[in-house]
Symmetry: C2
Subunit: 109 residues, 2 copies
């Protein structure tokens, strides 16, 4: 099984974050992982905002979030556990993540 | 000549802003228009960050920025004058634009 790629904090790129969160479904998925705090399995995360999303699409969304540096994924048996890398993003780009999440919330309300 | 499309403030979408600013050249172009304050012609704007960009690509960048609600473009003779809609974006999504511009600056430095 190939190792999962996670960028180092200093290698996190603003364009990758903006691209990853420019998709509403992906932004909702990320918001849910971030809100959950602890590690969440893909199926648990998908149970909320993204029930209608096919598994292959969901797996692609997790890959984009992971490679942008937004989440950390760990294989546990057949499941994948995801945690938000909020502290890493905050260290790299202070204020960026809260502003984006707030904008999505505002638009949804 | 077709009229230029500019979204109303309430129709500005967070995903369109994130997409528009996820391209480094487009983000640099927007930052320059925003920093210039007054209206800037395309060629003046392109004179700074984006000298190496072909005119057709540049015109596409302006279109994406305009349709995302980030700039207002006005035809003046053969030139196009662009102004940043910072106040509109700030009204719609407070704090979003400064956070994104700051993140790009931080990454560039």
């Amino acid at each position: 099984m190939r190792p999962l790629f996670h960028p180092q904090v200093d290698d996190i790129r603003v364009e990758a974050i903006l691209h990853a969160l420019s998709d509403p479904a992906r932004a909702a998925l990320f918001a849910q992982i971030a809100a959950a705090g602890g590690a969440q399995t893909c199926t648990a995360a998908a149970g909320g905002a993204c029930q209608a999303i096919p598994k292959s699409t969901l797996s692609q969304h997790f890959k984009v979030l992971r490679e942008a540096g937004l989440i950390r994924s760990e294989r546990q048996g057949v499941e994948m556990r995801n945690t938000a890398r909020c502290a890493d993003i905050e260290a790299r780009f202070p204020g960026l993540l809260p502003a984006i999440i707030e904008a999505h919330k505002r638009q949804a309300s």
